[in-house]
Symmetry: D2
Subunit: 343 residues, 4 copies
């Protein structure tokens, strides 16, 4: 019963098959291979417009490289106060930007809203050399708290950002889960709503280690390729990263697998919601459930073999925990967990 | 006939098998898994002493992270003027160190010698705040020009470095080729000769994307793990990098495969050496051959399907080219190339 | 009637005299001169213990260099959410630390309190590689809002910081104003209360451009001198910066001049407090007054020749403004301002 | 007899007078004052075209900030192998550029020539992501070895640089000495010869601490002002830096004072050239003399009270030393030194 993270699970069989297919014979290195070109075209199909797509091997790299490309050292990046880039990347965006400032904005359920974004922006005077200059808005989709922005919500925030001359980045480490839940097109969820660059995650949803930075406007690419190289993220045998991305996109497999994870999260939430003393802290839109659990129950679940993270210190006899489901989480694990919780 | 680079070739079948074995079920992420622990122990066996070993996914990452751990921003890194870190990583060490200085030292056949190292060091006044402070000596083994340092040569250079308070880094992107050629123990070639930290490469010799930073002295690790995280190089599904390293080391497979590449390079060199107008620029110690070829021959070889890089502009009717053999280069390709060269 | 900032005023006559005295003949450059040594000794007298003191030419340099010396790239610096280092230095600490994270903590009247500091710290897991690691607590004395920490308040915060393994930095751009107001010894206000390093400001209180970074513990100096050089802050004719600092400290002139500024701020506050619609937002402990003024009054004052900054956008018919007095503010200006305000 | 450096001397009386004039009353801070605006206009007059001029307080700051503005992190800066930026700034350009690469090019007497610049450039493949990209050519005028480029020589080098898409920076820490010696207009020596940005030094030639970054093309300013702020180099009481620059330029005083230094260097060279065992290593174009002196003579001169630096270790019984004259060096010191040398 592993609900610790979606990255705790392995990879799809299709990934292994794709790697094997890609493995034979020589090919140009550093991304000049045919497979990498094909993947970029394939992303164009998925997003219904030409894109520039660059494979990398970690979500932190995707986020930090794309943000640094859009944000100068004297810039500021606005994100939710609990965003992954703000709290869980050890300051990677600050390193890659050479010291830009991350501005954490509060918002219920891990979601930004235009009013609070505007309020945060009001403290930064445009052209005033003493202030970091707003450069990027970064949205996480799905959010760190398992919620999802509708295209309209994204658009409202992007409108604010663009009005302030900022670019819009989306951290899509769980973009598949978001899109599977939203049921709209990839285009509608991103560039049509104002997203300029997307960290497209595949690892959490079943790849081995494959993400893509997707620029929806070629002019935004700027010096991205030099940055990727200089950061040690231009891998020599790129075809093996691209092979994963191709297998990921093929037959919209990524959406089907994400839908499985989402469904199990919903099942878990449903199972827990009737239990005495259990309260869901956030809506369950994607593949994560954040219940408050009585401390005794937390203890019992762990003794019963359940793995999950506390999401804060115990408070008043109960603890907020995070339960994440994945493409490979067995439905039986969900049911066993709920049964254990019911006691 | 692909002699462009050893990273142009795919991966061993054993790599794919290892990935498949590692793929099932959940496991702790970010390197807390059992496989990663096992690999560190295995490196201890290979190097005949306890080591700290950290998997990463590119040689540039291995070099830049390990050098940055040992070299402050105000430090200087001494390396051969043609070292990979100096010319082919787009300034990655400078980025990771936040602006340390790389000092390129000349030396025949891509190899440093103590006298020239001492001469270079003499321009840096110790404790003088205007001068970058010598912090790291970085040796490439095998070198960019296909030559190899003997343990005695490494020791002589390390002695100079240590006498100046510097640490010794070895860029072992092709360490397997070097060791297979030297025929000494991994210990003798590294820490016993004064190497403090090793970028242990597996990718060029048959892994998919797996290198390890190996610290021979635990105290040198310092803040390496934070640096790796902050640079986006702590991958979540680390077990798949570790699985490659395990398969690489198992049954000393890495040495056998490297020996194949070395043998073919020798065969290539032997085949070429008798040809009129062909001259080898450097000794062939590992898996690279650097012949001067008449320009007409270069043209004919490429028209015949041979792939390889020029190693400088044409000069006096001939061009220096680089031919690299790999674990998977067919012997027939070598023979075909030589036959084509003989005309 | 210039209340825009204390740095809007010129310099003391004693500064000019000191510069003139220092101007003749040759002297060692880059701080090796006798005057610079004398100033360090003089700081030892002022703080009643041996210190390491390094002159620099701007407050931003003093803060960023001292913080960077104490905080690694993967570290976090805790400060008040409205601290100068957080909002008015364009991300200088982030640049000098190569991407450390500034954590803004709320607190009434610009002052941190232990409970909120502890709360902020609770989100950073020690030794957890994904989290920036708490490294420095930075206190501003007097604060950006004109308030002052008592030695007991500093000690309470420093105790928390030290318990978490952090160092304590004090941004003393207006340290003279604080000390003159507190009426305790320089020692009591700093190291005896747990401060490890102090940005000792002289510019705002009458120097031309002179600050000193004062380390109370020699071991904390680490590589500060290389950092200062590498950042272009080791000036060649250092004696002229030191001359200012010497004149500043001589005969405790700095405290007398700061007391003048403080007294005028008090007089200004007293004069304003009786006026209808005027409300002081913060206690007036040093040389700054933060009144809410009716918008019509703001307009009238500016038309009458008063210079000052708004401290936020108009809100409900009134605006928070900042009035700063300096060593050279004429008492008549204060009285004229109050008279104008009274209408 | 202090020939250690031109920055060992004090300041002109006119500097002190200018500071005193600037000292009274309030003025806008951070460079918004009238004096700073006036200085920019004055630079326009001196260079016979509109310029953007930014005062800073150290030569290292001027160089590092201007170079960083023109050179991305993945860029390369070409300069003479013995340039100040390469050897005497502890890697400041690398820090400010976030890790760009300085490429030291050899050349007789501290001077670059087009052929060697072209040769160095030939190792950097344009658009090749593995190579740092040539971005800036930095020339020192006068050079570290006391020689001077003619406008034609500058133009020849600038033509190469521009043809490669690079910008041309001139480190003019001793620009006054160079111009006084050349006897051409400031325009002819700089922008008319292809210089894009100039570090205009005043400190070594008699200011207290004042340099200016002069952009000859407004478009090159880019984010310079944010960089200056973020590096702690935007001083609050800027008028005092500007006052020095105004006094420096007034009545072409800077050229007259530099001419004095140059004349004494010439006198020193003439006096030494007849002495047995003494050999001048470089032409004496500006205010520095580099003689080889017999070791016994070096000893005798120092015992006689002469101060100067060795410019390398003793070699074959003699040592290369550097003798620098300044605006304030007494002619009697030169004569005494020569007399002492003659024995």
């Amino acid at each position: 019963m592993n609900f610790s993270s979606d990255n705790a699970y392995g990879v799809w069989p299709e990934m292994l098959a794709a790697l094997e297919r890609a493995a034979s014979g020589p090919a140009p290195s550093y991304g000049a291979d045919a497979l990498t070109a094909r993947v970029e075209a394939e992303f164009g199909r998925v997003f219904a417009r030409p894109v520039k797509a660059f494979p990398v091997i970690s979500g932190t790299a995707a986020n930090a490289l794309s943000i640094a490309t859009l944000c100068p050292s004297h810039g500021a990046v606005f994100c939710h106060a609990e965003a992954h880039i703000a709290v869980d990347e050890c300051g990677a965006p600050e390193f890659f930007t050479h010291g830009a400032k991350l501005v954490g904005v509060e918002g219920e359920h891990g979601m930004l809203v235009p009013a609070e974004l505007e309020a945060a922006l009001s403290h930064f005077q445009k052209g005033f050399v003493h202030h970091a200059q707003p450069a990027v808005l970064s949205l996480t989709q799905s959010t760190e708290l398992g919620t999802i922005y509708t295209p309209a919500e994204v658009a409202a925030l992007a409108t604010v950002a663009h009005a302030h001359g900022m670019k819009v980045h989306m951290d899509g480490a769980r973009f598949g889960n978001a899109l599977a839940s939203l049921g709209v097109s990839a285009a509608a969820a991103t560039w049509a709503a104002g997203v300029d660059v997307l960290s497209f995650g595949a690892t959490k949803n079943g790849a081995m280690g494959a993400e893509a930075v997707i620029f929806f406007h070629a002019a935004d690419v700027r010096d991205f390729e030099y940055r990727r190289k200089k950061a040690g993220h231009l891998v020599s045998k790129m075809r093996f990263v691209s092979a994963q991305l191709e297998a990921y996109l093929e037959e919209d497999r990524w959406l089907a697998r994400a839908a499985h994870a989402n469904r199990l999260a919903q099942r878990l939430a449903d199972g827990l919601s009737g239990i005495d003393g259990v309260e869901l802290a956030h809506p369950v839109d994607a593949n994560a459930v954040f219940p408050w659990l009585p401390d005794a129950l937390v203890k019992r679940l762990r003794e019963g073999g359940a793995e999950f993270y506390d999401w804060g210190p115990p408070a008043g006899g109960r603890t907020l925990v995070r339960l994440v489901t994945s493409f490979a989480t067995p439905e039986a694990d969900v049911d066993a967990f709920v049964a254990l919780a019911k006691g």
